[in-house]
Amino acid sequence: MELGLYLHFPFCIAKCPYCDFNSYQLEKDNQVSSYISALHREISAYSPKLKKSNISTIYMGGGTPTILSGVQIYNIVEFCKDKFNIDKNAEITIEANPGTLDAEKIKLLIESGINRLSLGAQSFNNLLLKKLGRIHNTKDIIDSYYLARERGFSNINLDIMFALPDQTIEDFKVTLKKAVSLKSDHLSLYNLTIHPETAYYRKYKKGQLQLPNEDEEFNMYRWAINFLEEKGFEHYEIANFARPHKRSMHNLIYWQNQPYLGIGAGAYSFLKGYRYINFKDPVKYIQEVMNGKLPIDQGEKLSLKKRMIETIILGLRTKDGVSYKKFLKRFKVDMNSIFYQQINKLINLRLLLKDDYKIKLTRKGIFLANIVFREFID
């Protein structure tokens, strides 16, 4: 079995006010070392179970994984290699925030075998970065980026956000042009979403956030797609753009609804039709692992129908869409025979395209993907 491996690092130097990820402001350094010990134990626990599996990608996400020292990161990757069968050419990604990288750390990352860097740039406008509560400025992004390039990273992603408070489309264009001028290999483009239980949400409710309206948001997104395609990026997933051969292999596992193992607090796993999540609270997570248990909080066995629906919803996020052949192979049933009505309706609405091999979103469907997804949902 081919697997993706995800490792979660729930610590940040500061918690951003919009962020609803499982991350916490780091209070004491010993938190990190006990967390790392727990990661090791969880990895060890899975090791015998996954003897027959190959790991084709590793993704270290957060939080801020690079809040760890170079050596700590190096050791974790080494430990994974020791405990799992990792493909020789595995894509190994680490997320980093500008300002948490230095030459020494980058050197160790490269030596550990990490071959892809995802930088949380978010914007090239210092004012907006400040509003977002980021600890870095534009110069930090550029410095970290070039440092990583010089020290050997040949595959770098930049995360960029849009539809930010008070952001105009002109602001956004400047940011995106700057990102492209750095010649990054990959860009992830997210519009700001206001999540409940975040500081932004409370501000938003009080009317203190001036967010771009739907039309402005649409214009930013549309402009970005056109601009990036013009610049040689492939819009291969709703929010993701890659130079040729630089798609994120790890994320493609998610979008193809393939199995993955998640290690760490709040990490999700999808194995043998089960999707489950570890305890989110790092303290609880560490406790469970140290008591010799798998730190699983809750999970669900997905019904066949749910797995089909998810396969379609996730697959439709990608440029490749959902292949009839793969669907048939996986579920032993023809996609048309089950979703004929939905597919036809969406084709009539010009949201979906169908050919002999696959279904995929139309250009319009990309902007209105939720309408398509809801159609397939039960």
Binding site: D215, I309, I313, L368
Partner: protein, 604 residues
């Protein structure tokens, strides 16, 4: 063990409790039940007699209830006290008048800090009309804001009530309970009537119970009723065999006979509730009485709206649910209708807005039906050019303008009691609602009573809320229908995506049509979510567009990111959104949320 004895008619007292809403009627009832041992310590809870969820949540009484108390008076005798609890809200005053007809006396409860309110006066008038002995009780004297002296003065200013008759009480603290009980025994006359005369029992309420069928609540005026007897309803001469009779303690408790003066229930295999009209007289089929008791005026609904199931397949469920509700609520009116926009549904008539709201809520909660309710309307009298006069409660069935000779709308006499300092704001409000001033009277130096005539249409929407906000909650309101007057009215139609949505049509005074139409389309623009294409909204009178707005096309609806386990959350979010869409009504290609049909209600 509960006693079940009969006593002389001289030792029976039948009484109601009447009060403005929130003046503590249900709490007084609770205390009387406790004091007389009608409920045990274990059964104690608030609002004992209110058993509908909705009554407990809103803290109001909707249905009348009866309960028998046994009381050992200070004079050494045992008495049967039949308490009939009544609703306090203006919408339900007909329930009150019905219950009063079964009594000889009434406790009039007045809040010691709020004093006399509109409903207080209305209740006193009702009680006097029914020739009841009034026992005035000033409640909540424990409150720091209580001012019983002021309230006593107010009561004397508005009625013949004497100071020495007034009982000071705090139901919360249990103060005054025994005084109240003694006053009931000593001041309220025993029922007149005789057990030896032929049976005459007044039906003052009826409820439907899925196990026992229709249960009628009666006050026996003359004669005796026992199980096995054949009885007859005097209005339609239908005969039934009595299966069970009983009293309320407060649960139904079967007994062997009910005699003149008693209050209780009868179960007699009544087929449907319409056979046992409230206000009808029950008599002995083998020895019928010649004369029936004075009945009630049939209640006429004042407020109308259409109710449709969101899902057309739920029509049958809705029909059944309405029938069941009508069994327990003779004031609810409904008849089948069809709407081009909404399909099959019902035009329903209610006593007022609260009544409407409660019925809608019960349909949704107790019967689990997703509803669309349209903006409430009143009944219009339309005289056509050909001389016909028709009654129209649904704006969508208004004839074309060129067929109409004239239109009359219902007017009500409104009685407002308010602190005098709010008078300016209230006058502005009433003026804006086309009201005409009739009278003003000081109840004391700070409280005044205002009388106006107003079109009912102007008060059914948000008049009460406005009144409350102008007076910081102090003003109270009571109204009664006084008749129909000619009016310059216009019917406004709403087109969504060029399609007339009949359920959105409304009738309004022509001077206000333009402004209201403008507000409605603006509101609809807010409420109706963007669709995949542009949706024009238009308001028209006789085909002429008087307002328009455009809902822009939905351009972007896409979840930004989705990785790993996120799919679980995303799927659940999409499932929730999809469920939300299912609650919307599809008209043409446009999905319209339920709230849109109540558009007018939401406008300031």
């Amino acid at each position: 063990m509960l006693k079940d004895y009969h006593c002389n008619i001289e030792n029976i007292r039948n009484f109601s409790i009447i009060a403005h809403i929130d003046h503590g009627k249900s709490t007084i009832a609770d205390r009387l039940l406790e004091y007389t041992g009608t409920i045990s310590e274990r059964e104690k809870r608030n609002q004992i007699l209110d058993d509908m969820d909705i009554e407990r949540e809103k803290g109001i009484t909707i249905k009348s209830k009866a309960v028998r108390l046994y009381y050992h008076s200070k004079d050494g005798n045992e008495y049967i006290l039949n308490l009939i609890d009544t609703p306090g809200h203006v919408d339900f005053s007909y329930e009150v008048s019905r219950s009063l007809a079964a009594c000889e006396g009434a406790l009039l409860i007045v809040d010691a800090s709020q004093g006399v309110q509109a409903q207080t006066i209305a209740n006193i008038n009702l009680a006097i009309k029914s020739h009841l002995k009034i026992i005035p009780v000033i409640n909540k004297i424990d409150l720091t804001t209580a001012n019983p002296e002021r309230v006593i003065k107010e009561l004397q200013n508005i009625s013949e009530i004497k100071e020495e008759e007034i009982i000071l009480a705090s139901a919360k603290e249990g103060i005054g309970t025994s005084n109240i009980l003694e006053a009931i025994v000593n001041k309220i006359p025993p029922p007149e009537g005789s057990s030896s005369r032929p049976l005459r029992a007044l039906i003052f309420d009826s409820v439907y119970n899925s196990y026992k069928g229709t249960i009628v609540y009666v006050r026996v005026v003359d004669g005796v009723i026992t199980p096995g007897m054949i009885i007859q309803t005097m209005s339609n001469n239908l005969k039934y065999e009595v299966m069970e009779i009983g009293i309320f303690r407060p649960k139904m408790q079967p007994i062997k006979k009910l005699t003149a003066g008693d209050v209780g229930y009868i179960i007699a295999g009544f087929k449907n509730i319409t056979d046992t009209q409230v206000g009808d007289t029950i008599t002995d089929a083998s020895n019928p009485s010649r004369e029936s008791l004075p009945g009630y005026k049939k209640v006429t609904p004042l407020v109308f709206c259409s109710i449709y199931p969101v899902d057309n397949q739920e029509y049958e469920n809705l029909k059944t649910a309405l029938e069941k509700l009508k069994l327990n609520d003779s004031s609810l009116f409904s008849e089948a209708e069809t709407s081009e926009a909404l399909g099959f549904g019902f035009r329903c008539g209610f006593l007022g807005l609260l009544h409407m709201e409660i019925i809608q809520e019960r349909l949704e909660r107790e019967y689990d039906i997703n509803l669309i309710a349209t903006t409430p309307s009143v009944m219009y009298l339309v005289t056509k050019k050909n001389g016909d006069t028709i009654r129209i409660s649904n704006p969508s069935s208004f004839p074309a303008k060129n067929e109409i000779e004239n239109i009359k709308e219902p007017y009500v006499k409104v009685n407002i009691i308010t602190p005098s300092k709010c008078i300016g704001g209230i006058m502005d409000l009433v003026q804006e609602r086309r009201g005409s001033f009739k009278n003003m009277e000081y109840i004391d130096e700070n409280i005044i009573r205002l009388d106006y005539d107003l079109p009912l249409n102007e008060i059914i929407l948000d008049f009460y809320d406005k009144l409350k906000s102008i007076s910081s909650g102090y003003a109270s309101l009571d109204y009664e229908l006084i008749g129909y007057q000619p009016s310059e009215l216009a019917k406004v139609d709403i087109l969504v995506n060029h399609q007339l949505v009949d359920a959105l049509s409304f009738v309004v005074h022509k001077d206000k049509a333009y402004r209201l139409a403008r507000k409605i389309v603006e509101k609809l623009k807010e409420i109706i979510p963007r669709q995949m294409y542009e949706v024009p909204l238009q308001a028209t009178i006789e085909g002429k567009i008087i307002a328009r707005e455009t809902i822009k096309a939905l351009k972007k609806d896409v979840l930004a990111k989705c990785y790993g386990g996120d799919i679980t959350r995303k799927r659940k979010l999409l499932e929730k959104q999809k469920a939300g869409k299912k609650r919307m009504k599809k008209i043409g290609k446009v999905e319209i949320p339920q709230a849109a049909f109540l558009g007018i209600l939401k406008i300031d």
